[in-house]
């Protein structure tokens, strides 16, 4: 249990998707104009990361890894399909977002109306694929750890986008030098937020 909490805190604050790895910057910059829409996108990202990372974990461990096919027949012990992981992960992500979109539409029209437009966008959000690839690289031991890592990364992304959206809503009324308006100042603020988040690096887990 303690281990899971460690992974969660680490993926939210220390290995934050945006501030430490710049993943999902495209939608982070494009959608962060108001707090309301960025909250919607952030929740959708938590949702999709929480689903795709464990699914990709199962695929990685029961299909792709060297020796992962042993459960079919002992003859497959030295088959290594990990070079296929990119194409399979992206296919899983694209189909999962599609599936999630359909399920949400069917069972919760209210949620669908608030998330609807963001779900398809998420298929090409680098944070999602990044989550799966980091899961592969760091080799988590159990399904629980992978799930917690996915959810934690999603929460970290959510915090970052809601934070920047709130700052951008305020900064609209301040006097920024003309060439720095819009994109430029957003980058610099993100950098400063990143430096603030680095304060968490000192935590030993």
């Amino acid at each position: 249990m303690e281990n899971l909490i460690n992974i969660f805190v680490k993926s939210v604050f220390i290995d934050n998707m945006i501030f430490a790895y710049f993943l999902g910057m495209c939608s982070y910059l494009a959608v962060s104009k108001t707090v309301k829409t960025s909250t919607g996108l952030g929740i959708a990202v938590i949702f999709v990361l929480g689903i795709t990372v464990p699914v990709d974990y199962l695929i990685e461990n029961y299909l792709l890894k060297e020796g992962a096919l042993v459960w079919l027949s002992p003859d497959f012990a030295d088959i290594d399909l990990s070079f296929l992981s990119f194409i399979i992960f992206i296919a899983v992500i694209a189909s999962m977002t599609q599936l999630v979109e359909m399920i949400v539409e069917k069972f919760s029209p209210a949620l669908y109306n608030s998330l609807g437009i963001f779900l398809p966008l998420i298929a090409v959000n680098c944070a999602i694929l990044g989550g799966s690839l980091f899961m592969q690289e760091r080799a988590y031991n159990t399904l629980g750890e992978a799930t917690v890592f996915g959810l934690g990364s999603g929460v970290g992304w959510f915090l970052a986008i809601v934070g920047i959206a709130a700052i951008r809503e305020k900064i609209r009324y301040s006097n920024v030098p003309a060439p720095l308006k819009g994109l430029g100042i957003t980058f610099i603020i993100t950098g400063l937020m990143g430096i603030a988040f680095m304060g968490f690096m000192g935590i030993k887990l």
């Binding site: 501030f19 430490a20 790895y21 710049f22 993943l23 999902g24 910057m25 495209c26 910059l29 494009a30 070079f83 296929l84 992981s85 990119f86 194409i87 992960f89 992206i90 296919a91 694209a94 298929a123 090409v124 959000n125 680098c126 999602i128 694929l129 990044g130 690839l133 980091f134 592969q136 690289e137 030098p177 003309a178 060439p179 720095l180 308006k181 819009g182 994109l183 430029g184 100042i185 957003t186 980058f187 610099i188 993100t190 950098g191 400063l192 937020m193 990143g194 430096i195 680095m198």
Partner: protein, 215 residues
């Protein structure tokens, strides 16, 4: 209709290459592909390898999509594009692992993340789906070159100020250090990439007033 073939390097085609370098740069103006741009810019060497990889993937997948653009059903075009890109990225990843293993280790997941690099989807969607193979090839090269330039500028400053080297060679003389000069450790940390990029955008927009955002 004029049946005469357009020369390979007509002024229109040259423009496809030169424009992304400046006034329609994919990173600073179109805001595409920032995700992977910044994480690899601590040193110049990985940044250069990353730039070459993106160039190869973008140019070739632009050509492939442009060749098959008339037979892709519009409803599933995103999946088709992703498959083409993913196949190219797998090739690049295997080549990097075979020939420059150390750098491939440094780039870690970011080679895989070329797949979701918005530059690729953006250019395939906006250009290759509606143009012939040769202009698409040039468009791919041009946009990847614009991306590479920003990557190299950012990594130049981060490596120079952060580690005192350029391309792995020491450029700051030893005597500076004995006078008390120190490398700025902050430059190596991720947030500085964003601030350096913000400053590049500032300089570019100050020189080219047309790019300034009004709102």
């Amino acid at each position: 209709m004029n049946s005469e073939k357009e020369p390979l390097f007509s002024s229109k085609n040259i423009k496809l290459i030169t424009e992304p370098l400046g006034s329609s740069n994919p990173i600073t103006v179109q805001v595409l592909g920032i995700c992977s741009a910044l994480a690899v810019t601590v040193k110049m060497k990985p940044a250069f390898v990353m730039a070459i990889s993106v160039m190869a993937v973008l140019a070739v997948s632009n050509v492939v999509i442009s060749l098959i653009r008339n037979s892709i059903p519009p409803r599933i075009r995103i999946i088709v594009q992703l498959v083409v890109i993913a196949a190219m990225v797998i090739l690049v990843d295997q080549i990097l692992k075979a020939f420059v293993y150390d750098i491939s280790k440094q780039l870690s997941v970011f080679v895989g993340l070329i797949i979701t690099n918005c530059i690729l989807m953006g250019r395939l969607e906006a250009f290759a789906m509606g143009n012939k193979p040769w202009p698409s090839f040039l468009d791919g090269l041009g946009n990847a070159a614009g991306y590479s330039i920003i990557l190299l500028i950012v990594s130049f400053f981060r490596e120079l100020l952060g580690s005192g080297t350029i391309w792995g060679y020491k450029v700051i003389p030893e005597s500076f250090y004995s006078f008390g000069y120190q490398n700025n450790g902050l430059m190596i940390l991720p947030p500085m990439a964003l601030i350096v990029l913000g400053i590049i955008i500032w300089v570019q927009r100050a020189r080219n007033k047309k790019l300034i955002e009004t709102k």
